[in-house]
Symmetry: C2
Subunit: 306 residues, 2 copies
């Protein structure tokens, strides 16, 4: 039986938050619908952060409410704290993604809190969700796990300390994020193994950026280390407003091509995915669209995994 790899499209959140202009709400919804129609089953559609910080995300409540009407789609929303989580749940998000920076520098810049303070906030979120007996999923994304543009090299022990604290706080799904794109395939394999040794199957997925061009090589390293969940963004949109030098997410189209060409199944129709770029381009005409497969065209030898 063909093994399945889950791709969570983060363009509408991680991609749009870096865009110079703001995509109109109906365009966002049309884009998310097209992504879901292409076969994506998980989409991070926005973040519940103050509109004055990220005006591109001001309509997240409306976006979540529209997205949950799409059949067979897990709607993910980012929330940096309990208040945001409550708003995400109220809007109907199926999963809330909470960031915690492993590095002090990025944590201060991004969340205005230390990593320990954010772990404590996440413990409060876990406790609140339990008290509500709410079925929504919680996932924690460990930012700057492979290096930080403020703090430089991040020792594995520092990541292990944070993931262990999160697991002890009751978090059951943790992802590792190469927020600034400093990872390399060796570091990916090493950290995945070290984290898995600490928290086992609580390690969920990888969130990779393509700053140095190593994005797909890093995804391959993750795949070989047993990871079966990856974030990516259509046309490689994205970055981090609070991580200088970070560039776009790995390109969903190219990631799907690689994974399917290797014989894994993603459930995604590559041609339909490429078509969805048109909506993105119409909604953000000034934004450069990345991706090799869309430019070269799907080669005649490509066969999606069956």
């Amino acid at each position: 039986m063909t093994e399945f790899v889950t791709i969570c499209e983060v363009g509408p959140r991680d991609g749009l938050q870096m865009a110079k202009t703001i995509m109109a709400t109906p365009t966002k919804i049309a884009w998310i619908e097209a992504l879901a129609a292409a076969g994506l089953r998980e989409i991070e559609v926005g973040s519940f952060v103050p509109a004055k910080l990220l005006p591109q995300m001001a309509d997240t409540d409306a976006i979540v409410r529209a997205a949950v009407a799409i059949p067979n789609l897990t709607v993910v929303a980012l929330a940096p704290n309990l208040r945001g989580t409550q708003a995400a749940i109220a809007a109907g998000a199926h999963r809330v993604s909470i960031p915690v920076s492993v590095s002090e520098g990025h944590s201060r810049a991004n969340l205005n809190r230390s990593p320990d303070e954010q772990v404590a906030e996440i413990a409060r979120i876990v406790a609140w969700l339990r008290s509500e007996n709410h079925p929504a999923e919680l996932e924690v994304a460990c930012s700057t796990a492979f290096g930080c543009s403020f703090d430089g090299v991040i020792p594995e022990a520092q990541v292990l300390r944070v993931v262990t604290a999160l697991a002890q706080a009751g978090v059951t799904s943790i992802g590792l994020a190469d927020t600034v794109g400093y990872a390399n395939p060796g570091a990916i394999k090493s950290l995945v193994r070290a984290v898995r040794a600490e928290i086992g199957p609580v390690l969920h997925g990888l969130h990779l950026h393509d700053t140095m061009g190593l994005g797909l090589a890093n995804a391959l390293a993750g795949l070989e280390a047993g990871i079966r969940d990856f974030d990516s963004a259509l046309a490689g949109l994205g970055g981090c407003p609070f991580a200088p030098g970070a560039s776009g997410n790995i390109v969903t189209e190219d990631l799907v091509f690689m994974i399917e060409a290797m014989g894994f199944r993603t459930g995604i129709d590559l041609q339909a995915l490429i078509e969805a770029r048109k909506i993105l381009h119409a909604g953000l005409p000034a934004e450069p669209l990345h991706g090799h497969v869309a430019k070269a065209g799907i080669p005649r030898i490509f066969r999606a995994a069956a």
Copy 2:
């Protein structure tokens, strides 16, 4: 002890032959000198083909004669046949790279010969070199080993037939080329293992293109399968004039970054390599320069392998 990975820069040959304009001879020489000064120890500097077919390569004789004056540099020249090989040797090339297409379609388009006819030509080249008792190295590059834009999927058995015939003809160094960029990491590992099982250490290296964005992931797969020799081109120049849809070679700068970040040694100074792009840009101002590391800058956490 840190393991060494050899990178052969093919920009002056594979890169320039696709350029829309012709780089002036003194600029080519200055560029090759800068590449060598950055630490590259193998450079494919041109090809001995009729000037009417590839006018960009018309000065290859002069380029080889200038390049062999650079200390500690293995000067490689491409030659499609015995006549070209004799010209390369006469100019002083240390190594001659002979292409053979695994696929009939690309072989006809590129060499106007069948694969078998080219294997026979290579046997004549081996015999001539032996009769001359010449110390020049011979390397054969198997084009379209991972798929062909004319013939589509290339079964492994077809590649094995060609490499076995080459080894029997006395060829002692064979590379596998993903001429059109159709490879994926699974195919790389599978073919490398199958070819090594047939011809052992005669399998030398990989020549990869980044058409689908999988170039570095494919290089990683090769590295993991034990390959320690890779071709690449500064700024990802290149393609194949007789392979529709093929795009540039893998980017030398990004490849060096990945390999060094993983703890292998390349002997290449990444900053000097990035500086060499200026000469390339001055010599071919209309050509787009690719590469993530040059754009993002070498991150502060990067340490070259010692």
